[in-house]
């Protein structure tokens, strides 16, 4: 049984200037170790981001919603161990 990835860092996208969001998210994800995750906090569903992650990392990315609106979305984006 695969254990769930552990969140080691939180990115609150609302606090990042729009042009920096994509680089920060992907740089942070890139630095994760297997079994590690980042928690993404956003004000809308980051579904398009999921597709980008799949394009880059395929099934190595674990995408789990911890909160789904209406004001705040929180997604645990992990590197599968």
């Amino acid at each position: 049984m695969m254990s769930e990835p552990s969140v080691s860092t939180t990115i609150d996208v609302r606090e990042i200037p729009p042009r920096d969001r994509h680089p920060v998210i992907f740089a942070t994800y890139g630095a994760l170790k297997p079994g590690e995750a980042l928690l993404l906090v956003n004000d809308h569903d980051p579904k398009p981001l999921l597709y980008q992650f799949q394009a880059e990392y395929a099934n190595a990315v674990a995408w789990d919603y911890l909160e789904q609106g209406p004001d705040v979305w929180q997604v645990r984006i992990g590197k599968v161990a």
Partner: protein, 397 residues
């Protein structure tokens, strides 16, 4: 966009049930959170019992555990729960379980015969689990912010150990305060890491934490120098956060991010004030007025400001209960700050009535926060139920 079909998603990517992630099923987490809030309410009553003689049984025994109920029973449980969810390991939930039970036994012990060391021992256990949990995060990612949060947990454990060994709670206040302050500072540092402060800023942070921690550790043994260091650490940390926290920017946005920023910045102001007060007074327990003012500047002005701001984000992550932002939230935040100002002026100017009314209004602010949070959550649940029940109804415009 890639052309991948949904069928290529792994099981975890198909997760659409919020909170299903996190190690322990949500229904098992809720009793722990509930016990945490029981400790909060008992802690508030205990605080009121310290302000004026309360006509309830065992008022003075309850009053004596005001601090432990708030710091360990309530905050220790909520922080422990949040960390366990993030770590997503079942063992990490033993921490908030221990502190939740400890709080319950502390309350029970006021009325019946409970061995007096059981509560403190459970709090120590809970804090040790938090140390391990933060250690696990550190091993995943060694950085200034993860180290700071681990130090916070260590400070909590140190204070609990002192209490278990029979120390007076007054002596371990700086350690317990450091637990909460470093936990919050670590989390803010983590966020600011993504938009690094200047090099000078990054270099300043570790020494500030060192001064704060050294002061907290020294204070029981060497009061004068310990409290001076602790106070300087508070002031320096507050100034650092006011200078480098992204809240400076997000306060110019709107709705929830703006509300969080207002909570943060006003909290930092109270932290700085507490430091100045302790520095001027030469200690925290030099007299009861200074003790009351400084403690509540930290634990109400700073810590509860943080709680008010972060509840709409942390509660859903831990419980899947959504708490949409309401502009009404500014009401209990304002009440918190106004009542605290009243209380502190009453303390320092020796106006007993102002102090007492301020204290009562503090309690009202926290109760109002709980009610507003429940109301927002209930309204969200109701509107979601309605939307689910009538998806084809559409809107006639």
């Amino acid at each position: 966009m890639g052309g991948r079909e949904m069928g290529n998603l792994s099981a975890s990517q198909r997760t659409s049930v919020p909170g299903a992630a996190g190690g322990l099923p949500v229904p098992l987490r809720l009793p722990l959170l509930a016990l945490g809030f029981v400790a909060l309410f008992a802690g508030i009553i205990a605080g009121l019992a310290r302000l004026v003689p309360l006509q309830i049984d065992h008022a003075s025994e309850l009053a004596a555990v005001h601090g432990p109920l708030m710091v360990c029973g309530f905050l220790g449980t909520v922080i422990g729960l949040e960390r366990a969810v993030a770590l997503s390991r079942v063992w990490a939930y033993t921490g908030p379980l221990a502190t939740a039970l400890g709080g319950a036994l502390l309350i029970a012990g006021v009325h019946t015969e409970v061995p007096p060391l059981v509560g403190p021992a459970l709090f120590l256990l809970g804090s040790l689990v938090l140390v391990l949990a933060n250690g696990a995060v550190m091993r995943l990612r060694l950085a200034a912010d993860t180290v700071v949060m681990a130090l916070g947990a260590l400070a909590w454990a140190g204070g609990n150990l002192m209490w278990l060994s029979g120390a007076n709670i007054i002596e371990l206040v700086p350690l317990w305060a450091s637990f909460l302050i470093l936990t919050i500072a670590g989390e803010r540092l983590e966020l600011s890491r993504l938009m690094p402060p200047t090099r000078a800023g990054r270099q300043l942070f570790p020494p500030i934490v060192a001064v704060l921690g050294a002061g907290a550790v020294l204070a029981p043994a060497a009061e004068q120098s310990g409290y001076t260091l602790f106070a300087l650490g508070l002031i320096a940390l507050a100034l650092w956060l006011m200078r480098y926290d992204v809240a400076r920017r997000t306060v110019r946005t709107d709705k929830l991010p703006r509300f969080i920023a207002v909570c943060l910045l006003s909290g930092y102001a109270w932290l700085a004030f507490a430091g100045v007060l302790i520095l001027a007074a030469g200690g925290i327990a030099t007299d009861l007025a200074v003790y009351d003012a400084a403690l509540h500047a930290i634990f109400l002005g700073f810590v509860f400001s943080m709680i008010f701001g972060h509840a709409p984000v942390i509660l859903p992550a831990v419980t899947t209960i959504q708490v949409p932002y309401r502009s009404f939230f500014y009401v209990h935040l304002a009440l918190l700050h106004i009542s605290l100002t009243m209380r502190v002026i009453g303390d320092l100017a020796g106006i007993e009535a102002l102090r007492v009314h301020g204290g009562h209004a503090n309690a009202a602010a926290i109760v109002l926060f709980v009610l507003a949070t429940i109301s927002s959550a209930a309204a969200a649940r109701l509107s979601r139920a309605r939307a689910a029940a009538a998806p084809a109804a559409g809107r006639k415009r």
